[in-house]
Point group: C2
Chain length 474, copies 2
C-alpha cells in the first residue's frame, strides 16, 4: 500500500483530499501559501491516532489545522509538498455537558460559536469570544491559547480549559479529559499542550469551563485625554467594579476615524475630538438598576480626576452592540484602507504609556505621515500596534521599504518595557525568528529540550514556534 | 576543596548547616524523617546557581525546601545522608510592587503571610490563603500549586502567578519574571514548573497577581439536609452571586462535632442537628447593603427548594471569623482526638454525592464504628476525606491494620468518579506509588520524558512525584 492508500484506508477515500486545496493550503489573510502532500480529515480520535502513527512510520510531517483562521501561518503546510495537513473539522461532536460541574466536553473541530451556542442552550456561558468565532475551532483556540475581549474577567483559553485529549506524535492517546478544578497528580501536561501550536501533539478534545451568564451588562464609550488617563481609569474601574469589569478596550483616534470613514453607519462617537477612546463593559449577577449607581460613581470619579473627557453609557443592548461594532470594525476598515502592518504585543499595564510614547516618537521622527491604528485589550496589557501607510498611499511599496524597520521599533520598545512580541496570536511560522532572537536563551534551550523529548522525530508542525532542527531520522 | 568547603565558599560558613537539623530533616507532621548531607541556605539567586552547579558537578542530589509545611514529604531529604537540602528562606525580599499592573515580585523564601501583608500595605489583595500561611513560603506554594479557601473565586497558586525565575538543574537561571497577562512566545515554561514540586528546577522568585480588595464580605453558616442539597445550593449561589462567590466549604456532621468537642469556645452552630454544613462567603465591590437583598433572595430560594435546613448570616466581621474558625479548627481537633488518616482528593462537583455515598457504604460495611471527618472545598470539587478511629480508640493500631484498605476504598471511588487521588497537597514522596499505579500510562511516559529532558542527571528532588529512575551518571 502506498502512503496515500494507507491514509485512505484509515479515514475513508472521501476524507483524503489531494486536489483543490486552496482553502486548506493558504491562510485566510493570504500571506502564507503552502503545498500539502494531502489533506486528511479524520472523524474520530482513533483515526487521528492511526493517521499520526502512519505519518510517524513514514517519517511524514503533520500540520494540524482547525478553522484555518490563525494570524501567524501556524496551520498551513510548508512549500515542500511533503507534509500532511490534518484538518480536525469533522471532529465536531459535543461529548458531554455537566451542568452542575459547569463543564462542557467537546471535540477539537467544534467551531467556537457552536460551543458558545451549546453552552447558551443550557443557560450557561462559555466566555471565549473573538472576531473569528464563526469559523475558528476550539482545538485551534487551545493550541494557540486564544485571548479576545473577555480575558480581563475570564482569562485566556488556557484558563477556560480543565482537561485535554491529545494524540502524541507516535500515535498514542493521552486521555486527560478531566472536569477537575484541582488535580495535582504529576506535571500539568495540559498546560504544556495549550499554546504549543500543534508542535507537541494533536489536541482532539477538551473539557471546558462554563459560567452562569450575567444578569445584566452595562457598556460605556469613554473618551480620555491621554493613554495615561486610560490606565488610571482602568485602575479606578478595577477597584470600583471588582470582578464585574469584563472588558476594557482602547482605541486610538486614527483607529476610530478609520472605522468611521469606512463604516459611517456605525456613527462612532467623538471620532476626532479626543486622542483615545475606551469601550468599558461591566457584567454582573445583579440587575442593572442595582449596579448602576456604583457604575455612575465610577464615571463621576473619572470625570472629577480628569481621566474622562466624555462618556456615553449605552441605554440599550442595541446601542451597546453598536459601540462594540465600532471596535470590531477597525481591523475591517484597515483592510479596506489598504496595506497595513500589524503587531500583536503586550507590556505590563503600568508601562503602556511609556511604550506608546517611545514607539510613536521613533516612528513619527522618521516617517512623519505614518498612520497609527492602535487598539488593544488594555486590561490584559495587550496592544495591537497596527500601522497604515500615509493617507492616499495604498501601502504595498511603503511597507516593502519600511516594514522591517517599523517592526523592529515596535519590538525593541516592547523589549525595553519588559513586554512580549507575541501576546495572543502565537508564534507560528511568522515569528520564529523573533522568538529565536528575543527570547531568553535558557528558555529557548528548555523549549528545544521539551520539543525533542515529546516529538523526537520533529514531525509535528516542524519549523513552527521553534525553528526546525535537523534530526537524524534513521 | 571538599564538597562542603565548596558549599561554604558559596553561601558562607554560617549558612551551611550539618548539625541539629531536626527542623529541616523532618516534616512538620513528623511522618517523614530524612538525613541530609548538609543544609545550604543561599541568600541570592546567584548563590542558588552556584550551589546547584556544584551539586551537579559532584552528582549530589538536591531537595529544595521552603517553609517545610508540606503534607506529602516532598521537601525533606531521604535516608541516604547524601542529599543537600536547599532551604530558600533567606531569599525573602520583595523585589517589586507595581500597583497599576497589579503585580508583586517576590523571592521564593517570602512567607505567604508576608506576601499578603505587603499587598495589603499597598491597599491590594493577594488572595492565596491556607492554614499554613504563617510559615509556608511562596516558592513552596508555587512548587506545589497550593489551593486553599479562595480558589473558587481566584484560582489555585497557578492562576495567581504571572512569571517565574527558576534555576535549572545545571545551575543556569531562566529569567521569566514577567508581569504580563498575555505572553504567547513559545511553550509556557512557567506552567511546567508550577506544581512540579522541585523536581525540574528551583523556583527562586515569582511575579504574583494582586487584586483590589473587596468592599464588603458576607458569610453564612448553612446547614443542609444532604450532600446533594449542598451541590444544588452551590449551583444556586454561583448563579445568583456570580463572581462574588468566594468560598463554599463543606463540613460533615462528625467533623463539626469534633471541632465542637475540642474547641467549645467557638460555639459551632447546629453541631449535631444536620448531616452537612456549609460556610458560604461572598465578597463584593459593592457595599453589603447593596448586595444583601440578592444574598437573602438566594437563601430564601434555598429554603424554598429545601436545599437549606437552617442558616445563620454573620452580623459582624467577628462572627464571620468565628464561623471560619470552626472550619479551620477541624484538622486541629482531629490531631487532638488521636491518630487519623487523611485523603486529599477531587472529583467533578456533580459526582460528589455519588462519591461520598460509595465510600461511606464501603467503609461502614466493614468498619461500622469508623468516624468520617469530612470537609472540603466543594466549589473546587476538592474533598479532604479524613477518617478517625472509633470513639475511645487512639487509632495507631487501628490504622496500622486498616489504613491501606481504607485508602484503597477512597482512591478506587475517586477513580470510578473520574477524580484525582491528589487535589491540592501534591504527590511528594507520599503518593508516588499511587501516581505510578493510577495515572494514565501515556501521561506517565510523557512526564518521565519531561523529567529526563530537563533534569537528565535526575538530581532534582529525586524519587519525588515520579519514582526514581536509575541513571548512568558517568
Amino acid at each position: 500500500m502506498t502512503f496515500l492508500e494507507t491514509l485512505r484506508a484509515i479515514v475513508g477515500t472521501d476524507h483524503v483530499l489531494t486536489h483543490q486545496l486552496d482553502g486548506y493550503e493558504m491562510d485566510w489573510r493570504g500571506l502564507y501559501r503552502g503545498r500539502a502532500l494531502a489533506v486528511a480529515l479524520p472523524g474520530s480520535t482513533d483515526q487521528v491516532c492511526a493517521v499520526v502513527a502512519a505519518c510517524s512510520a513514514a517519517r511524514v510531517a503533520i500540520v494540524p489545522q482547525g478553522g484555518n483562521t490563525g494570524l501567524v501561518g501556524g496551520a498551513v503546510p510548508d512549500q515542500s509538498g511533503r507534509q500532511v495537513l490534518l484538518n480536525l473539522r469533522r471532529m465536531n461532536r459535543v461529548r458531554d455537558l455537566d451542568e452542575k460541574n459547569l463543564t462542557l466536553t467537546v471535540e477539537a473541530g467544534c467551531v467556537l460559536e457552536a460551543v458558545q451556542e451549546r453552552a447558551a442552550a443550557a443557560g450557561l456561558l462559555f466566555p471565549l469570544s473573538l472576531a473569528a468565532e464563526g469559523s475558528c475551532t476550539i482545538g485551534g483556540n487551545l493550541a494557540s491559547n486564544a485571548g479576545g475581549t473577555q480575558v480581563l474577567r475570564y482569562g485566556n483559553a488556557r484558563e477556560l480549559c480543565l482537561g485535554l485529549e491529545v494524540v502524541t506524535p507516535d500515535g498514542r492517546v493521552w486521555s486527560g479529559l478531566s472536569g477537575l478544578r484541582k488535580d495535582h497528580s504529576g506535571y500539568d501536561l495540559r498546560q504544556l499542550y495549550i499554546g504549543s501550536e500543534g508542535t507537541l501533539g494533536v489536541i482532539t478534545a477538551a473539557t471546558l469551563r462554563l459560567f452562569p451568564p450575567p444578569a445584566s451588562t452595562m457598556t460605556a464609550w469613554i473618551s480620555v485625554p491621554c493613554a495615561g488617563a486610560a490606565i488610571e481609569l482602568l485602575s479606578l474601574a478595577q477597584k470600583q467594579l471588582g470582578p464585574t469589569l469584563t472588558g476594557f478596550e482602547i482605541m486610538g483616534r486614527e483607529a476610530v476615524a478609520l472605522a468611521d470613514k469606512h463604516f459611517p453607519q456605525l456613527r462612532a462617537p467623538d471620532a476626532q475630538a479626543y486622542p483615545w477612546h475606551v469601550v468599558l463593559e461591566q457584567s454582573s449577577h445583579l440587575l442593572e438598576a442595582t449596579e448602576r449607581p456604583q457604575f455612575e460613581t465610577m464615571l463621576e470619579a473619572g470625570f472629577e480626576r480628569a481621566l474622562i473627557a466624555d462618556a456615553i453609557v449605552a441605554e440599550s443592548a442595541e446601542q451597546a452592540k453598536r459601540l462594540w461594532h465600532v471596535r470590531e470594525a477597525i481591523p475591517l476598515a484597515q483592510a479596506k484602507e489598504g496595506a497595513n502592518l500589524k503587531h500583536d504585543v503586550s507590556v505590563p499595564i503600568s508601562r503602556i504609556p511609556e511604550f506608546l510614547e517611545a514607539v510613536e516618537g521613533a516612528l513619527r521622527a522618521a516617517l512623519p505621515d505614518i498612520r497609527l491604528v492602535l487598539l488593544g485589550h488594555v486590561g490584559d496589557g495587550n496592544l495591537h500596534y497596527n500601522v497604515q501607510a500615509p493617507e492616499g498611499d495604498t501601502g504595498g511599496a511603503y511597507f516593502a521599504r519600511h516594514g522591517d524597520w517599523i517592526t523592529r521599533q515596535v519590538y525593541d520598545a516592547v523589549d525595553a518595557c519588559g513586554g512580549s512580541f507575541s501576546a495572543e496570536h502565537g508564534v507560528g511560522a511568522f515569528k520564529t525568528d523573533e522568538l529565536a532572537h528575543r527570547k531568553d536563551a535558557v528558555a529557548l534551550d528548555l523549549m528545544q529540550r521539551i520539543k525533542a523529548a515529546l516529538d523526537p522525530l520533529h514531525l509535528m508542525n516542524p519549523g513552527r514556534v521553534l525553528k526546525a532542527v535537523p534530526v537524524d531520522v534513521g
